[in-house]
């Protein structure tokens, strides 16, 4: 098995809100291995983006605060690093692309300047070398006429091209981990197909690990090696992709898989999970899915289930799989 490059250990990221403490990430642990695509799936507000932002050291304090846990990157706890040490890793060893490429590019700088910046800062290239490398990168992400694009501004490009530029910037220093936070959600399907293709190629040629955050199970099925499902700030299930789709354990994962209409598999009525995601402020200490769960038992309302291994590499946090007598 490949080497682990990132390990989240009991990460807790909280936000102070006027209504109370919001536990956006509540005791989350999982690992990312070298050259692996790991998908974090869940609905809005489940804490998937906050997990990624915690890893990048981009949680704004206040209101946010990482109150517990460790994030190990190649054995080193990122949470203990100074701001300066962190900024040497960010953009070099770990880089990120966001959902909305227009708002993450600077509108008054040319594309070339923005790709050159990390090259000059992290790899200490001079302007000329940086330009040469930037043009290579633009070519690599599949944009024609790279010299012309180098001198263009973000508003002159289409959404798909902007996302390609973001990927080029993220890859500029050959990172070990690329975080992609809903990279195709704002794009049309035919453009989405292009971007997913590009990301698959990058993984193949550069052996970059990818942490892909998405809500689209279709994207998960196409891209992932390993899947982590989150709900209300907790990991509720994780497994290799084949196993998860074939044999989902948690009722929420099952519900998600059934609720999505699939092309050419029509059904009379869509399955829908009743109710809605609970208010994340001041959640009770029980199974957060219990109010919406069809197989809810008495214990689900009393104690939170623990994420445990059931079968090879397949973990779930659900009382259904625990003999109630043995519960700790």
């Amino acid at each position: 098995m490949a080497k682990e490059i990132v390990e989240f250990r009991n990460l807790e990221t909280h936000f102070d809100t006027p209504a109370g403490t919001l536990k956006a990430v509540n005791d989350v642990s999982f690992k990312i291995r070298e050259g692996e695509t790991i998908c974090i799936v869940g609905e809005s507000g489940c804490g998937k983006s906050v997990t990624a932002m915690s890893l990048m050291g981009l949680i704004e304090t206040p209101p946010g605060k990482i109150v517990g846990g460790e994030i190990l990157f190649e054995g080193q706890d990122l949470l203990k690093l100074s701001k300066r040490q962190m900024s040497k890793i960010r953009g070099k060893d770990i880089s990120i692309i966001f959902q909305e490429p227009m708002s993450s590019l600077n509108p008054v700088l040319t594309i070339g300047e923005q790709i050159s910046e990390p090259l000059m800062k992290h790899l200490l290239l001079d302007r000329k070398e940086a330009k040469k490398r930037a043009i290579e990168l633009i070519t690599m992400v599949g944009i024609p006429r790279p010299e012309k694009i180098f001198d263009s501004y973000p508003h002159e490009l289409s959404g798909g091209m902007r996302q390609r530029i973001m990927i080029a910037i993220a890859l500029s220093c050959d990172p070990k981990l690329l975080i992609a936070d809903e990279p195709t959600t704002a794009l049309d399907v035919t453009i989405q197909a292009q971007i997913l293709d590009l990301m698959r190629n990058i993984k193949k040629t550069h052996n970059t690990a990818i942490m892909l955050i998405t809500h689209d199970l279709g994207v998960v099925a196409e891209m992932a090696d390993y899947v982590v499902v989150m709900y209300a700030g907790k990991v509720i299930e994780e497994a290799p992709v084949m196993e998860l789709f074939k044999n989902p354990k948690h009722p929420y994962t099952k519900g998600l898989l059934k609720a999505k209409p699939i092309l050419n598999q029509t059904q009379e009525r869509l399955y829908s999970i009743p109710g809605q995601v609970p208010n994340p402020v001041d959640l009770e200490d029980n199974c957060h899915f219990s109010d919406r769960c069809e197989s809810c038992m008495a214990i689900c309302k009393e104690k939170p289930p623990v994420l445990k291994e059931y079968g090879e590499e397949h973990k779930a946090a659900c009382w259904l799989y625990e003999k109630v007598g043995e519960a700790r």
Partner: protein
């Protein structure tokens, strides 16, 4: 479902002027909708799919006369909507409603939900407050909202519930026809399924006619009887749901279908990845508008615009190669 057409759209065009220079002269046009015709029968739901900027929302809005047409006719039950006076159109609007994508920005944050839903009743002459409240509560119940939520403000609701409010507002006047403009695109999967089910229940119970605008082919397949595919302001294919999904004829329809990720990791399918971006609708390509990205384009496609024609069984397609 009857064969009686409720909405007839004939050769509709909608151009937006591009102005430039010191005197803001018109220097060109964005051809958002360029010569589109279709009909929607009573009780039917027609899906319109396509990528951003293909003109699908503009068609919806032009039908409701939120936008004025440039050319063509739109008939509702035989009445030419764009020939009505403002006042006549206002009264007609009770029969034609719209639900938008983002339910939050389409609700006034300072109006209580009960008032927002009942507003249209007041505008159309219902005076008695008790009567209004009764009808609002009825509609709220149908849409799955609770009675105590009558006095709440929009920010107190989740996305899915706000969309229910949007649907309730459209239903309050007992419309015959509703334009659904990406009603579930902003919602999470588990909530999306609830709203799709609500929409199909409503259609069955109230014999509504829908124009369902979406970029998500799988939702369209679930909800619609007939589907039209648009590209750069024109319809490229229009057929019954079964015919379109089992036997797509236009290369764009095929590419669009193959681009959708299927949630099944065991499936390794051959994908048609379209190269390049959608051209600008201000300056669409000559001939077939799709030829710049079409994997099968030939010389004739670059020169001649293909005719939108019936290839049998009301399966319409605009392609030289079919």
């Amino acid at each position: 479902m009857s064969e009686q057409p409720l909405i007839q759209v004939e050769n509709i065009k909608k151009y937006f002027p591009i102005t430039g220079g010191v005197f803001s002269r018109t220097v060109g046009h964005v051809k958002a909708v360029d010569d589109v015709s279709f009909t929607i029968n009573k009780g039917e739901s027609l899906g319109l799919v396509g990528e951003s900027g293909c003109g699908k929302s503009t068609i919806g809005r032009t039908i409701l006369r939120i936008l004025e047409k440039t050319e063509g006719t739109i008939k509702f039950n035989g009445v030419d909507l764009h020939s009505l006076s403002k006042e006549e159109m206002r009264r007609f609007r009770t029969k034609l409603q719209i639900v938008f994508q983002d339910p939050f920005s389409s609700l006034n944050p300072r109006l209580k939900v009960g008032y927002a839903i009942g507003e249209a009743l007041m505008d159309h002459g219902v005076k008695d407050p008790a009567e209004i409240k009764k009808r609002v509560l009825e509609v709220m119940k149908i849409c799955g909202l609770a009675e105590y939520q009558y006095d709440r403000f929009p920010h107190e609701f989740s996305g899915g519930q706000r969309q229910r409010i949007g649907i309730a507002r459209a239903l309050i006047m007992n419309p015959e026809f509703i334009v659904l403009d990406e009603p579930v695109s902003a919602l999470d999967v588990s909530i999306q399924a609830q709203i799709v089910n609500l929409l199909s229940d409503l259609q069955r119970d109230k014999q509504l006619t829908y124009l369902f605008i979406s970029h998500d082919l799988s939702v369209v397949q679930h909800l619609c009887n007939r589907v039209g595919v648009m590209y750069l302001g024109s319809l490229v294919e229009l057929a019954s749901k079964e015919a379109l999904f089992e036997n797509p004829l236009h290369p764009y329809t095929k590419a669009l279908m193959s681009a959708i990720p299927i949630p099944d990791p065991t499936l390794k399918k051959e994908r048609i990845v379209l190269q390049g971006d959608i051209p600008s609708p201000a300056n669409p390509p000559q001939g077939c508008k799709f030829h710049t990205r079409c994997p099968m384009a030939t010389d004739i496609c670059k020169q001649q615009k293909p005719e939108f024609r019936n290839v049998g069984d009301n399966h319409f397609v605009a392609c030289h190669l079919v």
